[in-house]
Amino acid sequence: MANLVIMPRQGQSVESCIITAWQKKVGDAVKEGDILFSYETDKSAFDEPAQTSGVLLHTFAAEGDVVDCLAPVCIIGNEGEDISALLAGTSANAEKPAGAPASGEPAKAAPAEEKEVAPAAAPEATASEGGRLFISPRAKNLALRTGVDMTAVTPTGPHGRIIERDVNAALDAGKVGTTAAVEDFLRGIVPEKREEEAVSAAPAAAPAAAADTYAYEEIPMSNVRRVIAKSMHASLSEMAQLTLNAAFDATRLLAYRKLLKEKGEEMGLSKVTINDMILFAVGRILPKFPDINANLVDGKLRRFAHANVGCAVDTDRGLLVPVVTCAEKKTLAEVSADAKRLAAGAREGRLSPDEMSGGSFTVTNLGSLGVESFTPVINPPQTAILGVCCTVNRLRADGTVYPAMGLSLTFDHRAVDGAPAAKFLKELATALESFDLLLAK
């Protein structure tokens, strides 16, 4: 009995995933537990193990294809088994199997004379097949002109082609992004073409120059990158952001860190970082500032009951922001452990989307890279973000030197005014200056 393997849904907000690699080819024997294919969501990468043993009989998507969650990805069964029933049942989703043998061709449409004529095929959920985007020239022009949010466009044209009415439907629903995002989307789906253009354009434009003078490699944006781009651009274009800079005397903080490092091994605290300590402090202070521990969505401020502090993690695939939940209740050890686990998960692409959503505030740290002050960009729809900078030595009035650590708070002036934001920053700085006292609270 052949089995359909479907694309798992990884988190409530995920609608589709991209197949990054097939680990098995059609015709390969598959044992239960063997990895069939790897895929990624906007934010994470996964491997899909086989649930049954058999032979990989058919694939519905090729590497690089976007597949809807719960849509069929492949069929595992016995060698030579008749899978036409399974294919017929899924024909609406993918007409042409990518790289599949001819036996997998969908059944021919019924002739007109037969009574049972299927209604016009349900529009395919995806406009791409074999990595190609199907969009009419007219729909494409409209998308570029209006900057529609292409991820919100559902194709309803013949063969899953995006046609004008699909773009209009998204526009009517208010799904507007930017023209640049549309271009990126179109380019991302059809990378080969752009590369050809790039290669052929350079020598034609400057035949006298050395062949590689203007050569460049064009890398399509990854899903993660595209999400970051969209989110950051939306952040800057839609919010009224401004940044306050302050510094605090980090003498006691650093001293406490030193103590942990030296004496904390037995208690498992030797790996606590400055950043963990700041997350801890932020977690304690945030509940007092409900407008900062909030999201601004559709003109309404969502004040969170808990301090769910996102911590920005730099990964190979781009910036990811896993969330330390309920930080206000957690001990420094717990915050530290959470942050470590989440950071490692983010770097390895192993986090579930749910672990990377729901943040009420974000902390980003460039201090280890020597940045003295910066303007962090708010992670929408949050209302503020704290940037942590490096320490610099400053002179006290009595001439002694102390380590001053910079804090850069960007807030959304739509949600928060300057005074409460400054108060938050001030209180946070005070708390960090007396970190040992804070621990006692």
Binding site: P119, A120, R138, A139, P158, R165
Partner: protein
């Protein structure tokens, strides 16, 4: 089917014998001495001169073809050269007795005929007439070249240079040729001398010459028409059709209308140059069974077409026989047929190695050379001395050498420069003139005043709009239909242009098989409106000749399916003569073709694609009375050949679109201008012909069931076609389906779809799609809905290929997979 002629069963079966007269074979037996009474020395020598000129002209062409050199002049001519060396006496003998008003039409071996008629005309015209002809022709370009390069005081000598140079420059495709080099060797002619086109299609000239004779006959013009052909052409249907058409009884029995009009026979001489070979096939003895071409004529009419055979190697015998034929044609006893036995010693073309005949045979004929024999006879009869003949020879050779030098000089005789003037040929594909009457000096001959016409009275009682004041449809019997629109335009033209004639099968009395012509019988004498034999080649071919000669013709093929029967006449003759003549000839011909339905595979085809494929034809297919009348008015007012498609499904359709209905007054609908019949915004339907009404039904379904608003554009005409309106519509809707009743493959619809895809790609939301008939035979009426596009099918295709309609359950399988499958099977 005139009622005046009773088909009597009592007489039909009476026993007896059909009798034939003897056909004279080479009965001429006069000597030079006898003929001295008829010819002066100058006449005798002129005959020699003309034959010798033709011989030298063709010898020169042969040398150029074979050796790329003639008397030291080097040239390479890649074009054809079908020579007639040996046949000079036949050509000169014929032309000698023809008047300037007599027209000749050539075969495709016609250099000799052209030069002979030209030289004869030069002799007959006065110096003033000659000079003014040369000066006016093509703005005096050829005369300019000749005057500058040949110094002579004699207009006649200048005219000979003009003739030889114009013909040779034409053969060499020079812009200074008689037809600017667009006709070439097989299509050279010079109308002012009465030299009408020769033809690269064997037998192609016969129906055209017939048409020119019809023009003379119907318009009372002087002179006769000579249809020259070879013996090989007698195997061709159009030639046999033309012989029959010319000899039909009605011309002498009915056209006189009891003494009111002329009852003369057709003034045409079918002149067969029997050189015994159609290329290589030997007619007498191999490919024909007629024994003698002259015998063939005997069956066509009791007059046996006055057929006889004459010795074509004796110019005086040819003159004597041709003169007799001409005289009887002028008396009204035509048509006539003359077999001129002759022989070409040259090959069919320079590549001919004469594998089909022996060297002895050729040598024997070379020995019998008509020029040599004639000269010897004249010397012997002391008409002239050898020295005099030698002097003539020398002058001809000298003239020929000068002419070729001039004709190959690229500066004096340039070819068309299509890089500098890229529109040269485009500009002559159509004449695009508006000429109300082809002869404003005459009053049209009609039988009754227009307003007394019974059809006109009947139409006056009809509603000129399809709906009454309350918007209810007017009953079919009371509404002004498409057939009325066409009739009105044609009737008006008959009362405006005296040259206008109409004919076809069952036109008179019956009123046309679909009643378009009801009322014309009462209005027009026979010679303007008559029933043609069932001879589609002759019907269309004669219209070409009628127009060439200066008239306007409306001819009809009862069904579009019969286009194949008149294939050459439509595809090679009607379409090409305006441009092959470099715009000198005009072709005001409207060819009406009716697209059937309910009549199965050979009577129901929309063949617009066949005619639209051929450059030089205008093609239209109106679907409303307003458009039908307006397009017919413009077609009849124009000077270009128009193939006018009509649909039998909708002859009685009233006008539903034009506000105020169909005007009674004159108006035109422009060719090339498609018409928006219904405005919409979501999808464009471009319809060709009668399918318009099914497209309207489809639009209704789309609107009512799916909320989709369809715009419908009626193509109206196919050639020319201005895409601007269509592109404008596609910019709005992004989607277009092209529908028509023609079979899908290679249809006009496919052509349009491809053009629209190119012109409006960036605006398209889906590829332009085509919905025509299946690539089948047309099945019986009861099955037609599976074949011709229907409203539901149009909606299905839109849902399948342009705009999926939610919940649509298709009736027709128009999927892409099905399309691929059908193509793979050729259906």
């Amino acid at each position: 089917m005139p009622k005046s002629q009773y088909v009597d069963p009592g007489k039909v079966f009476q026993p007896g014998y059909a009798e034939f007269e003897k056909i004279p074979l080479c009965t001429y037996n006069k000597t030079i001495k006898d003929e001295k009474a008829n010819y002066s020395k100058a006449d005798f020598l002129r005959i020699y001169h003309d034959m010798r000129t033709i011989r030298e002209f063709e010898t020169m062409l042969n040398e150029i073809k074979v050796k790329s050199e003639y008397r030291g002049v080097e040239y390479h001519n890649p074009g054809p050269a079908h020579l007639s060396i040996g046949q000079e006496a036949s050509a000169v003998g014929q032309a000698y007795c023809l008047d300037i008003n007599d027209f000749t039409f050539g075969s495709h071996r016609s250099h000799g005929e052209i030069l002979a008629k030209g030289l004869s005309s030069i002799n007959k015209l006065t110096d003033d007439e000659l000079y003014s002809i040369m000066k006016e022709f093509l703005g005096g370009v050829i005369l300019g070249v000749v005057e500058k390069n040949f110094k002579t005081d004699s207009v006649k000598e200048l005219a000979k240079d003009f003739l030889l140079y114009g013909a040779l420059a034409e053969i060499f495709a020079r812009k200074t040729g008689f037809n600017r080099g667009l006709g070439g060797s097989m299509h050279a002619f010079f109308i002012p001398f009465g030299i009408f086109p020769n033809n690269a299609i064997v037998g192609g000239s016969a129906p055209i010459a017939l048409g020119a004779a019809l023009y003379k006959r119907s318009n009372g013009k002087p002179g006769i028409v000579v249809a020259n052909s070879g013996d090989g052409a007698l195997g061709r249907g159009p030639v046999l059709e033309s012989l029959n058409f010319a000899a039909m009884d009605q011309i002498t029995k009915l056209w006189g209308m009891d003494g009111k009009y002329s009852d003369k026979g057709m003034p045409i001489l079918f002149n067969v140059f029997n050189n015994f070979y159609g290329m290589g096939g030997q007619t007498m003895g191999e490919t024909m069974g007629y024994g003698n071409p002259a015998r063939l004529a005997a069956g066509f009419s009791p007059t046996q077409l006055h057929a006889e055979k004459v010795n074509g190697y004796d110019p005086l015998a040819v003159i004597e026989a041709t003169t007799r034929k001409r005289d009887l044609l002028l008396r009204g006893e035509g048509p006539a047929l003359l077999e001129v036995a002759t022989y070409r010693v040259s090959g069919h073309s320079p590549s001919d190695s004469s594998t089909y005949r022996t060297a002895e045979e050729i040598e024997a004929w070379r020995e019998a050379c008509p020029i040599k024999a004639y000269r010897e006879k004249l010397v012997k009869a002391r008409v002239a001395t050898n020295a005099e003949f030698d002097a003539i020879d020398e002058a001809i050779i000298e003239r020929m050498t000068s002419v070729i030098k001039l004709a190959i000089n690229d500066e004096i005789s340039p070819r068309m420069d299509l890089s500098k003037e890229p529109d040269m040929i485009s500009s002559i594909m159509f004449s695009n003139r508006h000429v109300k009457s082809m002869d404003e000096t005459r009053t049209p001959e009609t039988l009754i005043p227009k307003e007394e016409n019974p059809r006109v009275k009947q139409i006056a009682g009809k509603s000129r709009f399809a709906f009454d004041a309350e918007g209810k449809p007017v009953p079919k019997m009371k509404v002004f239909g498409i057939r009325d629109g066409i009739f009105e335009a044609i009737l008006d033209k008959f009362y405006e242009d005296p040259t206008t004639i109409a004919y076809g099968e069952d036109n008179r009395d019956w009123g046309g098989a679909f009643a378009v012509y009801r009322g014309l019988t009462e209005a027009l004498p026979y010679h303007r409106f008559f029933n043609a034999p069932i001879s589609e080649s002759a019907i269309v071919g004669s219209s070409v000749g009628y127009a060439m000669a200066g008239g306007r013709a409306i001819v009809e093929l009862m069904y579009a399916d019969f286009i194949g029967c008149a294939g050459d006449e439509i595809f090679n003759q009607l379409s090409k003569w305006q441009s092959m003549s470099a715009g000198i000839l005009k072709m005001p011909v409207v060819l009406r073709v009716s697209v059937g339905s309910k009549y199965g595979a050979q009577h129901s085809q929309d063949w617009t694609a066949l005619t639209a494929h051929i450059p030089g034809l205008k093609v239209c297919f109106p679907a409303t009375p307003y458009d039908a009348k307006g397009l017919m008015n413009q077609a009849l007012n124009g000077t270009d050949p128009v193939v006018f498609f009509e649909s039998q499904r909708i002859y009685d359709m009233g006008e539903q679109f034009h506000e105020g209905g169909v005007p009674t007054d004159y108006y035109e609908v422009d060719f090339g201008d498609p018409d928006v019949k219904r405005e919409g915004k979501d999808v464009t339907i471009l319809s060709i012909g009668a399918v318009l009404y099914r497209a309207l039904d489809a639009a209704k379904i789309l609107e009512e069931k799916y909320g989709v608003s369809a715009e419908i554009i009626d193509a109206r005409s196919i050639v020319p076609f201005n895409y601007e309106k269509v592109i404008e519509s596609v910019k709005k809707t992004g989607k277009i389906i092209i529908v028509g009743d023609a079979v899908d493959r290679n249809s006009v619809m496919r052509d349009m779809a491809s053009n629209i895809a190119e012109m409006a790609f960036d605006y398209l939301d889906a590829p332009p799609v085509v919905f025509g008939s299946r690539n089948w035979i047309t099945p019986a009426f009861e099955l037609e809905k599976y074949y011709f596009p229907q409203a539901e099918g149009i909606v299905d295709v839109i849902s399948e290929k342009l705009l999926p309609l939610p919940g649509r359950v298709p009736t027709y399988n128009e999927t892409e997979i099905e399309h691929i499958e059908r193509s793979a099977h050729g259906v």
